[in-house]
Symmetry: D3
Subunit: 303 residues, 6 copies
């Protein structure tokens, strides 16, 4: 069960409204790697957790923190949208400087000012009435296929490290895209928390890898896999630039073997041939010999 | 540019058809962590690669291999669907043993046999005519928000390690869900390749982390983040089970500081108060005092 | 900011596992009118609230409660999935009673048992490893176009009343679909809360309608709408059954006029005629007379 | 069955083209609360109607009218797109006034004019060739999860009242966002019809509430719900601002009880503990004592 | 504008309910090539039509007919769902024959009967309350990216021929999947109409191809395309089976040239090399020489 | 299995970066009729092909070529994004000409320059870091419901002809929307290949139609369809403009009959009446007479 307090986890106060930036900021709210994604990912991993108590507790700690991040960014967006104009044409038209710069020509001016706020999301005006939306920076709605809770913590903690890496990258890019000190202050907090969270998942992964083996799932008996190809890098692309990497040389990361570089990988499988579909499927009918005869006989029987 | 050879990378031949399992196998073809996801993820990371040649080459090597995996699983599914019946009721009705077991009661039998193949995807009959589909095991279509190519390789290689971890987990589960030797043979090959690919991304990550710092993006100046909270684990959940983990004790994974456990995290931000929206937004009108007066005046002016 | 306590808001303990019902229960977790929808709807309405404090506070109260409902249902689903078998065939094959009932015929038995658990979601095994998912009962992922926060509270409270009405209806149907006492106990709690929440939104709507007018948005000047048709029921369907309803007789609900029944509504608009597209659009070229000549001239100029 | 007449229900003629506004207008065509949503919602409610004839007839009346609204807005959008230029750069470059205003500097001018029409949807040119699309104002396609036909009319009429409330709100906002008299004329008609339709659903709801009870579904026996919490407002958010509302005081809206304000709601449920997953699920393996021993034994048996 | 009459275009009366088949039938209602798709496709092509009147009129004729098909199939599905049980377990448990067949063993029986109706869509009970839904046979909602109205009629009529071909194929498959005479009667009507509609689009295409040239868009000057490769079949797959087809031999279909078979197609383009991203993008930093120096200098300047 | 070579199939080098155009070009990469769609469509049709070898081979030839087209366009987009600025405001602010043109007024200038690059996709900066994305020109992700592989080649080749027609149309429009010689060079190659591919599918269709009959599926016995309406054009729209087309006159395209024009089509079906739902569905309760009595009795029994 959850409780709410009125204060935000950290300040979310822009210096001034900026409806165009509000749209961009949506990316880290409702985007693939936004705060809603990690909030839902950690909460579901916690609720589904069948492992030790400390993991469930930790997942719900961070999941609960992420709700507060969703709250902060939503609050920021609402303020960035303050006083955003609906009829930007008229507002601009009344601006004497722009008017003069445009030489007084109304048509040209109209065409330009009409787009002054075209970088704003039309839905911020029409749909949410100057409020944040659970969508990304191109207006695509958040959906739950963005997240994973697989029941295997090592797999999921790698998903979490990935999410925090992509997330911090996006926050850093958004930091570069504004000079508003208030916005940057909030982003500096998110950057710091993402630093912690990357560290946290690296620590948790290390702990699990030490208890299990590093290949997920560690419980599947490796003798049941096709071990001839378990450590081979296959070069399917002309040229051998890829031979230079760590992945093609030295001991494998799980310590079980050495990497092998296969310069010219050969096909090991059959040439596929599919049988014709039965007549009731109405696929393409067979065109020659016995197959067709059989097909026609079956077709007669089927009606 | 690409070339195709007719042979599969590895055998994909089931012992016998199994339309119900065909539906389940769709998960690793067109699911969130299926082969289409990694194929597209690696190819786009390769095509967008602005780093050293060996990385682009490596990404296109593995991306090209994944197209072959998509081909293998598609071929397997088509064969698992061979001869799947459309009118399962009748087929079952003609089965003398079932007939007898059901005591000859046609109604009961009908109800049961009607669902004998209800585990089959109806679209495998109606839409694809006994062919594989680029969808997951519940019929949800593959979409490109499953993948990422961010332009930052360390971030992306973590995404790749995640994808191979979730992917191998799902293949292992599907291996447990069948006893068909042909299917298991193909899955044993995929398990082995996923072992390699997890190793590969761990190796590539290690290489990058050694050249850069481990926190993504490594190029963002850490002094610009809110460093007070960069290494603090915050306990937002009653109880302190989460204190026991590696993430709350000892040196941080980036080697820059020590983890700190904040047992009772306090709010550091403002209590949000949003200003009323302008009248042309037609939000909820303000209900008291000056705000309302100003609102009404603006409203009059706006028409 | 939010805090979590370990206890659930109410008990979520099934009498015994039931993987098929687990899939159905997903509807009120991640469906269009599931708990995730109301949780997100109330939280975003609260965070975006530009109205009186009591509304923001109330919205965050109920939004916070809904997180707890998501937690309860997720926990229930995970337990309904306990011990769900992967290879149901074998498990069933070892059942002596079924074996005997089937007369020992392995093929028939195989066909039947293969589907015994076909009502289970394959993703509950393959993807979430016996955990709840933020999807509905057909596996479709939750997405944020399910919810609304428009900035106009009267509009939104009607959305909320709708959501609680549809939601309680679905819970009632799910109650009828099980006899598990533990599941029914949890559902009886949700039914009661939905009774409260329907009452709550009816109360809040009444309060707002008394302060404003009942037609949303109440602030748009009614003289700017085409008032001739503001109270007319138009009969576009042969026959006049629809004349019998309250909507076609008596005073309108906003108290401004009387309902009128238009038995034979006539078209009031133009017959549309669109001009041909310019040549650079490469639409269908005009086929006769002057239009074509002009089109061809423009086409020549455009390259 | 349906028939079409060539005339529109009401005029849809803009004063002049405006490709940027055309994109915004898409919201009330193919958005969450656009005309396609209500058209489909009413038609499906009508076709699925198992109630009295007058309801089915009324639903098909209004559903049929909504097809005409879709037609009007589509026609309007096509005309707003008339003559929209593909190569806006060149067109702008040939404009002497802009040219002069920009001081003749080609680079700056190019950068600006390139975006003059950037508010236009690129798909209006590339995909639909100056035609309307069934998408919203950010280009997101209409999908049928926007609508509901639940088989319970009281629930559905609340959905309808919600749809007409959100819809009229959006039309009002779009009215504010243009000064084109032709567009405003059409919107004034839609505003009036939405006034009627809000009145209509309020009337139909009143009629149903009088015949049934107001809590949906009225047929579920209230003694089966957890009645202790059926009328309690729970304060999950610090502070008691929410105590001031109608929802926390006085008789409940269904007339069955009085609202109660629970200032400090306590958890009533268990602390969840999930059992480890079976070995064939390859979740996180248990880490200590008996559970692990049992797990390993099962794992051995399972292969 | 549209009018509705109460009678269906053709009978839609099943012999008896069949909730499992109801789910399958959803494919031709709300699937990719279902009736909603063609209804919306033809209506939007009609409303956007900038060509001759006869085309607009024809498109709206057929679009209006398709609304009637949506109505027929919806009505059929609602009847197939008549009396579908919620608690199938109990119903089955009361069946003496099944009871006896199962040897009286309650557990086994429970497991089997629980799935008797598992082929039914859970949403037909929980969400739509025994009504049709605008979704396909796996419950995926209809969305408007299924349809096209491009403004070029020759292109669109090919889309229409495609839709009617896929559509009739699916109806034929569904005809094979039932023996219900009432259902088959309705399907026989749809099959006939699809025969007409395939003929219709073939006729309309022939008419347009005679007025224009057959390659879409016919108005783009062919001298601006890379004519060296306009008639070459390129063999990118090992082996030359593909040489045997009409596409590799004889005159091209547009009558402009002869098909050419390129047995070993060579790459004609550059080897791509992308420049490093600027520092503010925080992509992978360059690793050697001058590029890195420049990058670092830029990075310093950017903060 | 597949191999990759480093060279592109054809040049993909823009004259200069153009981030706004990069967004538009996304349409033919990840849009409904973009290269990803045809790549996936042809590959899946090939892998699922149960027909003659030459068809499978041909499908995989062209499918493999399309991967190369995806590669070319991705490469082009990445280059169009080269050096795209994050903080366009500052860049513009430093431009002396713009500065002067704006009369030195910082506020106006800020407002304008803020939108100079607003036509750029924010995700090209935030998400992909100046790389191509598998999305369309409005940022909507590619999904596999864009493609079809039905198992019936005649149906599918019509889908392919449609895809190449829509695709070439979109490329032609994009050609008109730029004057960059490098971009136009690449597009001229794609236009030529689409010319070939339209020719190819027309040739393949002709070949199949000669072997089968032209109505898909040709194998369904036409005597089972409702032949009275197989060749009737039905005029559901007031006026008879549609009578003038080829579809209403002369021999049908399949040569089996003559087209018939039905000026006043009559309804041939029943007036639907649905029975009330059982009480456990909690639909709208019946309101009068016997039905209600029966309903209430059932309701009592059901609890």
């Amino acid at each position: 069960m959850f409780y709410h307090v009125k204060e935000l986890q950290y300040n979310a106060k822009p210096d001034k409204p900026d409806a165009v930036y509000a749209k961009k900021l949506q990316e880290i709210l409702g985007g693939q790697f936004g705060e809603i994604s990690v909030m839902m990912q950690y909460l579901f991993q916690g609720w589904n957790c069948r492992g030790e108590k400390k993991y469930r507790d930790m997942l719900l700690d961070i999941g609960t923190e992420e709700i507060a991040h969703v709250e902060m960014i939503s609050t920021m967006i609402a303020q960035l949208l303050d006083q955003a104009p609906a009829r930007e044409q008229e507002q601009a038209a009344q601006n004497p400087v722009l008017n003069s710069a445009m030489g007084g020509n109304q048509d040209v001016q109209d065409q330009i000012v009409k787009t002054v706020l075209s970088g704003m999301s039309p839905q911020h005006m029409i749909v949410s009435g100057l409020g944040a939306q659970p969508v990304d920076s191109v207006g695509y709605p958040w959906n739950s296929r963005y997240m994973i809770a697989s029941g295997n913590m090592l797999a999921d903690f790698r998903a979490n490290l990935n999410a925090e890496s992509q997330g911090r990258l996006q926050v850093a890019r958004l930091y570069e895209m504004t000079t508003d000190n208030g916005v940057r202050d909030m982003l500096s907090f998110l950057l710091a928390r993402d630093t912690m969270h990357q560290n946290q998942w690296m620590a948790a992964i290390e702990e699990l890898e030490q208890n299990q083996k590093p290949i997920v799932p560690s419980t599947f008996p490796q003798e049941l896999e096709k071990q001839e190809v378990s450590y081979s890098f296959m070069n399917f692309s002309a040229g051998e630039d890829s031979k230079a990497g760590r992945w093609a040389n030295g001991q494998s990361m799980d310590g079980q073997a050495s990497f092998e570089y296969v310069a010219k990988p050969e096909a090991m499988g059959q040439t596929p041939e599919l049988t014709p579909a039965p007549p009731y499927v109405h696929g393409t009918p067979p065109t020659a010999g016995q197959a067709q005869a059989q097909y026609e006989q079956e077709a007669i029987q089927s009606h």
